[in-house]
Structure formats: structure tokens, C-alpha cells
């Protein structure tokens, strides 16, 4: 059974035109998925749907086969525990008034997860190569790359099955990107990743499958290896031609 299944999903803001149209998408446990498209392709909207922050205006989204009903607290709690996120901007994704300990511990407290919070936070920080004393500091005391590591620690502390990462390296310099990619690669051994990015080269490093979005529609999807070696759609070919490839530098 898929972790998340989108079936003929469309979405429009207010009474505007559809920004997503007829999306069919399955997220399988253990298979990292990359969602690639340029600005305006609907990447952010699809991410909001996958995070349960917006509801489809048409079609159906299920989590482990069940429809996501915000009124069903048990299902939503299970969903929140299973699905976490890392955002693009490490400066706005960490609360500047909270110490790192409280930032990382927030999912455990909010979801009332029965874990020793001290141990869980220390373990999450260790997983992202940050020392234990980082927990006592504020975000402004860290560099951009370190902040992104803190955001990743928050996303993994509750041991989710799925981590969605939105343009997670695009605000970082090249050296830091490579370190974060290495970190995500290590994390993907124990959790499924969905990477949303305009950079097909970056997602290809980590994902088994790719979905190519153009103007709210999926124009191509399949195994990353197949798409990279033989792109079928002209838009995919254009993305491949125009995107600097991280592996060229790595």
C-alpha cells in the first residue's frame, strides 16, 4: 500500500484557475521521489497538499489508504507523526526566539510522542552532526548550513516515515549543498524522502523516481535513471539541459 496516494487531484486558490490539474501520484515507502519543475509549475502547492496544509479542490488524497479528514484527529495525528518537512529558507524556518532544543523537540511535544525528549533531541542532533551543546543555543548563533541541519533534526526527531524537503539546498552554497546532500543520503536509509526542487540534477542524486511538473500538470514520471537517460518530454529535456548538475561538481 502506498504511503500517500493522489488520485486525479486538482487544486485552485479561491475561485481562480487550477494551479494543479489531474495529478496522479503515489509515494511508496522506501522509494525517494523527486518533484521537479520551474517556478509556477505547482511544486509548492503539491507540497502543501502532501503536508496536509491544503485540501484538493477535486480528486482524492489518501494516507495509507484512508482519506485525510481534518476532523478525524486520530488519522491526522498518525499523518503528522508520519510526515515531516524541511523548508527552503533555513533563516525563516527556525523560530528565532526558541532555543534549538525546543525547536527540535516541538514535534515530540505537539504530537505527545512517548519518547524521552532529552535523548531524542540529542540523538537527532547527533544524526545531523551537531554537538549536544547546540541544543542550548539560539538559531542566530549558527551558519546557514548548520541551521538547515537543525531543521532536518526537527524533521527526523519523531522518526517519521516520510520527510518532504522543499528546495532544501537552493539557499546554500555549493560546498554546503554537497554536505547536506550527503546527510540526506544517509537519512534516506531510514526514511523516505520527497524532494521538491527546480534542480533536476540535485534530486536525481537522491531519488529513485521523478515527477516532472509543468504548469500544474505532470508531463513525465518514472524511474529517475530512465528519465535522466532518455527524457521523453521536451520540457524534461529543457530542464535537463538548463540545470547545472551537482554531480558534475561533486
Amino acid at each position: 500500500m502506498s504511503l500517500i496516494d493522489l488520485s486525479a487531484v486538482s487544486f485552485a486558490y479561491g475561485r481562480g484557475r487550477n494551479v494543479l490539474d489531474g495529478i496522479d501520484l503515489k509515494i511508496e515507502a522506501g522509494r525517494n521521489l523527486g518533484i521537479v519543475g520551474e517556478s509556477g509549475s505547482g511544486k509548492t502547492t503539491i507540497l502543501r497538499l502532501l503536508l496536509g496544509l491544503a485540501r484538493p479542490t477535486a480528486g482524492r488524497m489518501t494516507f495509507r489508504g484512508e482519506g485525510l479528514d481534518p476532523g478525524n484527529r486520530a488519522v491526522m495525528r498518525g499523518f503528522r507523526r508520519a510526515v515531516q518537512a524541511v523548508f527552503q529558507d533555513p533563516y525563516s524556518s527556525l523560530d528565532p526566539r526558541q532555543k534549538v532544543f525546543d525547536i527540535v523537540a516541538e514535534p515530540l511535544r505537539s504530537l505527545k510522542i512517548d519518547m524521552d525528549i532529552d535523548d531524542a533531541v540529542a540523538g537527532a542532533l547527533a544524526s545531523v552532526d551537531l554537538p549536544p551543546d547546540a541544543a542550548r543555543r539560539y538559531p542566530h548563533e549558527f551558519s546557514g548550513g548548520q541551521r538547515q541541519r537543525i531543521a532536518i533534526a526537527r524533521a527526523i526527531v519523531s522518526r517519521p516515515e516520510l520527510v518532504l524537503a522543499d528546495e532544501v539546498v537552493s539557499a546554500l552554497d555549493l560546498t554546503t549543498r554537497i554536505r547536506i546532500v550527503d546527510l540526506l543520503k544517509t537519512l534516506s536509509e531510514r526514511t523516505t524522502l520527497v524532494l521538491v526542487s527546480h534542480d533536476i540534477g540535485f534530486v536525481a542524486l537522491l531519488c529513485h523516481d521523478l515527477v516532472i511538473l509543468e504548469k500544474g500538470r505532470i508531463v513525465e514520471q518514472g524511474a529517475a535513471r530512465d528519465i535522466l537517460s532518455a527524457p521523453q518530454h521536451p520540457y524534461t529535456r529543457r530542464l535537463l539541459d538548463s540545470t547545472p548538475r551537482l554531480m558534475d561538481f561533486a
Binding site: 523560530d95 526566539r97 554537538p131 539560539y138 548563533e141
Partner: protein
């Protein structure tokens, strides 16, 4: 953005600026004096203890008023009145303003538009005018009416500021991350919104405190504030107006008290932002 410097930055340290310390000292002095009047004053504030309009002397440090009452005693009691009005008005403004501002920030666009327009209309009225209307509509001038009037008038400003600040916080990714983490809306307000808007609100509260003190003095000056025998600084100034050329200290002394408290509050507010905001602390 670069990644890991091998060592983390040093922990940040609290910075108490000279301005903050001066502000705290001025406000602290008024608080001590105001509290002291509850148990002791140099003279009975209603007793005629010296000659009329006497200049400052060892017996009467600020001289006497036109009825021969000790002016220093009245100024001390005026500090208590000013602090009571300031704290009462700011408490009312904070309670109403922060609640309405947060509701507007979380409300749908239509409700937010209505609330924002209402607040703009209220803010368009000068605080003093609004306060005068409320005092006029009530049974009569009293300390309680003055506190309520000034507090209600200030609440629109607090509400608008709260709304703007809260909306800015709600747009941040860390709030989205909190929603993804299952934090409730009330939890988001408690954990993220209030701590992030608090430093700016505190500064505004302190400024509103100072404005409330001035507004109360103005209302008392116009005869709409605390009625006699409450020795409000505004009433002392009003009484000294007729004799300002022959006995100037009657106006200068309460004026100095008023200005020193307002300046103290402003300096205190600015420094308080540094204390309340960890991102403004320097690295040690």
C-alpha cells in the same frame, strides 16, 4: 550561506545599555515614591502646612501651592496616580488590543478587512478626544473613568500593531513547520506568535504607558481626570497656570516629574527590547 565552521559561535550574552539602566532608575524612582505614599508622605496632602506659594525650602522641597499645601507631597502622590493610570490603561489596552489583533490576524480576509477598517477609524480619533468622549458619556470624571477611557483609546493602536506583527509571524516557515508538527493554533500563538511579537509589543506598551500618563495629565488639566483631592500632575499644572510668573516652581516641579517619568519609560522600553529579544544580544 555556508555550513559548519568547526566550532560553534560563543553563546550570546545579555546587554544592559546605559539608556536602559537610566530608564529603569527613573521609572524605579517613581515606583518607589508612588508606593511610599501609600504609607508615608512628608505632610498631609490636604493640610495647609506653609505659606501660600512659598518657594522651595528645607521644610518644603518643592515649595507650596496657592492653598499652602506641600507641593512635594502632592507631586509624590501624583506619581502614584500617574503609575496607576499608566498601568491600568496599558493593562486594558493590552487585554483588548492583543486579543482583537490576534483574532484579526487569524481571521478570514473579510473579517480581517472589517476589523482593520474599524481599528483605522478608532485610531483616526485623537486619544485625548476619544478619552474625553468616554469620560463625558460616563457618570462623571473619576480616576477609574480616566483609566478606562485612556485604555480603550490605546487598545486600537495595540490591536493594529498586534495584527500586523502576528500576520508577519504567521507567514514564516517555522509556523508552517509547527503546523506540520501537529501544533494547534492556540499552541502556535503561545509558542511562536506571542514570543516573537512580545519584544515589539513591550516597547509599545511602555510608550503607551508614557502616553497614558500624558493623557491623564491632560484630562486632569481639563478637569476630566482624577478629581480633587487626588493630586494629579495635570491638575497641579492647571492650578499653577495662574501663578506661573510669580511662583514658577509650582509648574516646573510637576512638569519635571511628568517629563522624567515619560523619558524614563521610553529609555526603559528601548532597553527592554534587548532584554526580551535574544537575537539582539551580542556574542560574548
Amino acid at each position: 550561506m555556508t555550513d559548519d565552521a568547526p566550532a560553534l559561535a560563543q553563546p550570546s550574552s545579555l546587554r544592559l545599555t546605559p539608556a536602559f539602566l537610566i530608564g529603569a532608575a527613573l521609572v524605579g524612582l517613581h515606583v518607589v515614591v508612588g508606593l511610599m505614599t501609600l504609607v508615608w508622605t512628608p505632610y498631609d496632602p490636604t493640610a495647609m502646612t506653609g505659606g501660600r506659594l512659598a518657594p522651595p525650602s528645607l521644610l518644603h522641597w518643592a515649595g507650596t501651592d496657592r492653598l499652602g499645601r506641600d507641593l512635594f507631597t502632592e507631586i509624590m502622590i501624583g506619581a502614584r496616580i500617574a503609575l496607576a493610570v499608566g498601568s491600568g490603561a496599558v493593562t486594558i489596552a493590552a487585554a483588548i488590543g492583543v486579543t482583537v489583533g490576534l483574532l484579526a490576524a487569524f481571521a478570514s480576509r473579510a473579517v480581517d478587512d472589517v476589523l482593520a477598517a474599524t481599528l483605522d477609524i478608532l485610531i483616526a480619533f485623537p486619544t485625548l478626544l476619544l478619552a474625553m468622549l468616554i469620560v463625558a458619556a460616563s457618570d462623571g470624571a473619576s480616576l477609574g473613568t480616566a483609566i478606562l477611557a485612556i485604555g480603550v483609546a490605546a487598545s486600537a493602536i495595540v490591536a493594529r500593531l498586534t495584527r500586523i506583527l502576528a500576520r508577519r509571524v504567521l507567514a514564516m516557515d517555522y509556523v508552517t513547520a509547527a503546523r506540520v508538527s501537529g501544533t494547534s493554533w492556540l499552541g502556535i500563538v503561545r509558542i511562536h506568535v506571542l514570543p516573537n511579537i512580545w519584544p515589539t509589543l513591550v516597547v509599545n506598551f511602555a510608550l503607551q504607558f508614557g502616553l497614558a500618563v500624558i493623557a491623564e495629565a491632560s484630562l486632569s488639566y481639563l478637569g476630566l481626570g482624577a478629581p480633587p483631592p487626588n493630586a494629579s500632575w495635570g491638575r497641579l499644572l492647571q492650578e499653577a497656570q495662574a501663578t506661573v510668573y510669580t511662583a514658577p516652581f509650582g509648574a516646573v516641579a510637576p512638569g519635571l516629574a511628568l517629563v522624567s517619568l515619560v523619558i524614563g519609560l521610553n529609555l526603559f522600553a528601548d532597553g527592554l527590547r534587548d532584554v526580551a529579544d535574544p537575537t539582539r544580544r551580542r556574542r560574548g
